[in-house]
Amino acid sequence: MSKTLFLPSTPLDLQAMRAPRYTSYPTALQFCEEVGPTDAIEALRASNDDLVPAPLSLYLHVPFCRSNCFYCGCTRTVTRNQTIMSTYAARLCDELVQRAENLDRDRRTVQVHFGGGTPNHLPDADLERIVGTIRQHYRVVSAVDASLEVDPRLVQANQPAFWRRLGFNRISIGVQDVDPRVQRLINRIQPSEMVAATVDACRDAGFASINFDLVYGLPGQTLDSINATMDFVEQQRPDRVAAFGYAHLPERLPAQRAINRAWLPDPQARFRMRNYIESRLIAAGYVAIGLDHFALPTDTLAQAFAEGTLHRNFQGYTTHAGCDIIGFGVSSISRVGRVFAQNTKALDDYASALERHEWPIERGYRQSDEDRLRERVIMGLMCHRPVDLVNLSRHYQLDAEELFADALDNLHAIAPRTRPLTSCHDGVLEVTEAGRPYLRLIAAQFDAYLNTTPSKSSLAV
């Protein structure tokens, strides 16, 4: 496992800061309005006709939060109006029922994830109703991987047990940073005792896996504040930790305008923070998976990594490869076969589409053979798998060697003189130990669309 810390000092590190996170290829920036509900429905029907139809992974987006965290880039609305939330929950149920009509009855659902927003801001009765609808209309396997993201400030003592009863077995807690000053600057004040109480309640209730979401690069953060956060993480020992770099995009995300660019750590400091987080977690026995995920060796994510079955979906690294992903709710993204489809972000449009019995899709993308080939390379690299370019060439009937000649040259050119970032023997491409911190930059070399959208990607580290 990676024990190398690299010192950010070269122009390469600055280059690395432009690359996308690659939760899909092509990225959502390539989605367009030409691909819509008809394409998605057709893709679902075609997937039903496969000899062994892919298992399903359901994603449900709950766009509501009780208060406004300044750093957040997700699609969400701040509200305390129960009626609005319950009405939305009813729409989600409608969408679930409508979508089930496009799926053969024997399609197995192996993964369910509630994200947001704040899924636990929904009234309990609504969450129960949505889960009930899923169970009634989808064939959920008994070993389903079912998770939800929670805000610890809203967790009642009996709720973890309630979530377990509904069938959730994994949970993700937004922690960000424990420093009160940082919390004030991002408007997310949650005493660490509160988080600890949630962790205890989840453990008592029998959750198999607990994840902490941390963010570095936040206003007011220093290595000292991160130090305190890592002390807390070590103490609580969650099964997984996801550490995201803050993406400051105030032009696109109005909530972030409350954050003054001057308070943000500079790029070098971000690098040091990321490194520090990784070194603390590795010292505490976590396995580093990619750049932003860490897991205890006993966690299924670490096991998938060890077995080479790690995959990536819109949420990041996942244990469940080869699923058709169906998104429900505003802004959610689906992926069925070669078709990506993203739901509208507007609550009104979402509701009216469902009233017309239409899939509320706003934009999407249909992959070409070349897109598929590049996806296999990029995801293989991101998931630490050796990539067999010869095999892929044959499978997609494209000349990978020719297609990627420039990419491979670039990789040589940008690497530090004595430490290549990748190796390529007999057409099998692999990331070296030295290359691991630059995973996204390496993957970016194989992205055919990168030059067309230069400044929209967040900082890579």
């Binding site: 039903n48 006709d49 496969d50 000899l51 062994v52 139809p53 009855r105 076969g337």
Partner: protein, 239 residues
């Protein structure tokens, strides 16, 4: 009812004598002179679009059709309106044989993908067959093979045996046509396969999963790789 758009055909010199599929098709084994006679009557380049029937049950039979490119399924519609798939046709196969004895098509013929057919007008074909015993013998062999396949299909056998038999048959037919028989891209859906083998789609997928887990085949989408044909043969022969 599926839309029907009758394809147009054209005449061309050397239609059969220079066709790559001739080894598999009706005129296989004919002499140059005999082939010339066939060339004169056959209509080529009949384009059929996926989803549009070539002919329908009850249509008067005026011709037999050979698949040149692509693939077809034949089916009948039951009293209750349900589709029952009776067979799959690959390049070189002849469509329309099952209705010959009564002069009208017994089933529907539907392309599984955009396909091309050649047309043998029946009255002219009859004439040539009178002069050419080889052609008559070939027709008999085609009918015999079809009969054999249908009887085998009616046999009581497990789902595993049925699916294994189906895959093997496809594999053999593709190999006979000179294609790489180690991998196939199936144009028929699991729905059609299940319908044809009288299995539920859930069962079809369960069998494919089992075969995949046992490394007898590899499956991705509609693509199959044959990893262990021997094992497949054993399974097909079972009850």
């Amino acid at each position: 009812m599926a839309a029907q758009l009758k394809p147009t055909f054209r005449q061309t010199a050397h239609a059969c004598s220079r066709c790559v599929m001739i080894g598999q098709c009706l005129p296989a084994g004919l002499t140059a002179d005999e082939l010339q006679r066939v060339d004169e009557i056959v209509g080529v380049n009949g384009r059929c679009s996926k989803g549009q029937t070539l002919y329908e049950a009850g249509d008067k039979i005026t011709a037999l059709y050979a698949v040149r490119n692509g693939s077809f399924k034949s089916y009948r519609i039951s009293e209750s309106g349900e589709e029952q798939v009776t067979g799959f046709f690959l390049p070189g196969d002849l469509l329309g044989m099952d209705g010959l004895h009564k002069g009208e098509h017994s089933s529907f013929a539907m392309p599984l993908e955009d396909s091309v057919v050649c047309r043998f007008p029946l009255d002219q074909l009859d004439e040539i067959m009178g002069e050419t015993p080889k052609l008559m013998r070939k027709m008999t062999r085609i009918a015999s093979r079809e009969l054999d396949t249908q009887i085998e299909r009616a046999r009581n056998r497990s789902a595993d045996a049925a699916v294994a038999g189906f895959l093997l048959d496809l594999r053999n037919r593709m190999a006979d046509r000179g294609f790489d028989a180690s991998r196939l891209s199936l144009k028929m859906s699991r729905r059609d396969i299940g319908n044809h083998l009288r299995l539920r789609i859930e069962t079809v997928s369960r069998v494919f999963s089992r075969l995949r887990d046992q490394h007898v085949i590899a499956v991705e989408g509609r693509d199959i790789s044959f990893l262990d044909p021997e094992r497949l043969r054993t399974l097909a022969a079972q009850d």
